[in-house]
């Protein structure tokens, strides 16, 4: 049985939970993964996103998320203008990605310090999202839990090192997934957790030798 506020709620900006609220959340998570102020945005839209994005304001919603707005922020409708005012260059393209979820977006971001990232995600209904790929790594990230993401050298013992840091801070792992491009190469790990990931936890993870990078994404 759902809860009271799944039925009356959420408070949101219209018109559609999947094409607006879900799109804002995709943008938000992309901003968190980039980890710095975005200056350049390219978004490829697939399926229903490509077909109806102007009518639903999906373009505004995605940019709003990239600007860091929440799903109930009344500035969402002015997001394109606000992005331009901040000097952010954005571009939308329609693409056919084949047999993926009809509300899929591929988001390319460039940050103020030159960092780039590519995120593939879908708005899967009711404002829920699923990130399926980050920088070429297949992932499954919903944004419902705080997540620790590591880019590391694929070798024995790395997972233990990271999870023992989490254990030390009494952080419980809800879901985890490790993926790599090939054996011994660079790998990516996502740990979705039940507790707040403090800066101290992330900093300690960054000290692990085999880790190239570790960062956290709060629940959104």
């Amino acid at each position: 049985m759902r809860g009271v506020f799944d039925i009356i709620g959420p408070i949101m900006i219209g018109p559609s939970s999947s094409h607006t609220a879900g799109a804002v959340r995709l943008g938000l998570i992309a901003r968190r993964i980039l980890g710095e102020e975005p200056v350049k945005v390219e978004i490829n839209l697939h399926g229903s996103f490509a077909r109806t994005y102007k009518g639903h304001g999906t373009d505004k919603a995605l940019i709003a998320g990239i600007l860091g707005f929440a799903t109930d922020d009344e500035r969402i409708k002015d997001a394109l203008l606000l992005a331009s005012e901040k000097g952010i260059i954005y571009q939308f393209k329609k693409v056919d990605l084949g047999a993926v979820h009809p509300n899929t977006a591929v988001i390319y971001l460039t940050g103020i310090n030159g960092r780039t990232t590519r995120i593939i995600g879908a708005s899967v209904g009711g404002g829920n999202i699923l990130i399926t790929n980050i920088d070429g790594y297949d992932v499954e990230l919903t944004g419902q839990y705080p997540a620790l993401i590591t880019i590391h050298h694929d070798c024995p013992g790395v997972i233990t090192k990271v999870t023992s840091i989490l254990a030390k801070y009494a952080i419980n792992v809800a879901f985890m997934r490790v993926s790599r491009q090939s054996r011994g190469a660079e790998a990516l790990m996502i740990l979705e957790v039940d507790d707040v990931l403090t800066e101290a936890v992330v900093a300690e993870c960054q000290m692990v030798d085999e880790l190239e990078n570790a960062f956290c994404i709060p629940a959104i």
Binding site: M1, R2, I8, I11, M12, I13, S16, T52, K60, K77
Partner: protein, 292 residues
């Protein structure tokens, strides 16, 4: 506290001599581990956003991104004194259309149970509250009763247009609204159940065929109509009218109908109004013929 259907809610309410809203509040408190005061204040916040969206809606003159809707709530609200239906009913229609317009122009609304059906419940409650001078406390209580009804429908049928057609969105919203109005009028738990059956029964089979795939045509005006359905269902239940088909069987019927509705009539914009020559012409103007 546990319940699987509306009949469970009615029985427990009568047995414990507690109103349905109280059972729902207790259930939510157990389930979410939230304090009662926090649950009440979260609902209060929802209600404040609902009221603000209604006020904004009846003044709205802005058109949606597509240009298909915007400005109708204002027309209806300026016609209140002249209509056949009386001020309260027309006011409900104006508010419902208005809230739905606010949704279409990317304003702030409360999904109830969805964004596409967000105008129905707040509109009817606001209209009757102005007429009968209900207090905010009474209104918040009624919102919990409505939520309880929506929870059962979501569990036993659907509240998604893509799954069950518009009966699942506007039908469910009207059923929730009728329950809230009966609660406000001081009706019994049995009368709440009757109103839900009456409201839902008469919106069964409603398809989701949005023009150009947008939450605009026919959704915005339909919110106005569904709000009035809910008011009639509440009045009939308060007058003592009973549905021949028990409420939980009506909900099951809605689920069955949703299952056999073709996909083309479940939010895909492939049939119905969405496939009418005018809709296709509007769609081509909006998206261009050659695009995806």
């Amino acid at each position: 506290m546990n319940f699987k259907c509306i009949e469970d809610l009615v029985q427990q309410s009568e047995l414990k001599k507690l109103p349905i809203y109280e059972l729902i509040l207790q259930y939510e408190s157990e389930k979410s581990q939230m304090e009662r005061a926090d649950i009440l204040s979260a609902m209060k916040k929802n209600w404040q956003v609902m009221k603000a969206s209604a006020e904004k809606g009846i003044a709205n003159q802005e058109k949606s991104n597509s240009g298909l809707v915007g400005g109708d709530a204002k027309k209806v609200s300026e016609y209140l004194e002249q209509g056949y239906m009386g001020k309260t009913v027309l006011k409900a229609a104006a508010y419902a259309i208005g809230i739905s317009e606010v949704n279409a122009v990317m304003g702030k609304i409360v999904a109830c149970p969805t964004a596409g059906s967000c105008g129905i419940l707040p509109a009817a409650i606001l209209a009757v509250a102005e007429q009968k001078k209900f207090t905010e406390e009474q209104i918040l209580n009624a919102l919990f009763t409505a939520a309880g009804i929506g929870m059962v429908i979501a569990q036993n049928a659907s509240i998604s247009g893509a799954e069950g057609g518009c009966q699942a969105e506007c039908g469910s919203a009207a059923a929730m609204t009728a329950a809230a109005l009966v609660e406000l009028a001081g009706g019994s738990p049995e009368q709440v159940a009757q109103s839900v059956a009456l409201a839902l029964k008469n919106l069964l089979g409603l398809v989701c065929d949005p023009v150009a795939g947008l939450v605009e045509v026919p959704c915005v005006k339909r919110n106005g109509f569904a709000s009035i359905y809910a008011m009639l269902a509440a009045d009939m239940a308060m007058a003592g009218v009973q549905s021949m088909i028990p409420v939980d069987e009506v909900i099951d019927a809605m689920y069955q109908i949703g299952n056999v509705l073709p996909k083309s009539l479940r939010e895909t914009a492939e049939a119905g109004l969405a496939a009418s020559p005018t809709a296709r012409r509007l769609e081509n103007t909006l998206y261009g013929k050659t695009e995806l």
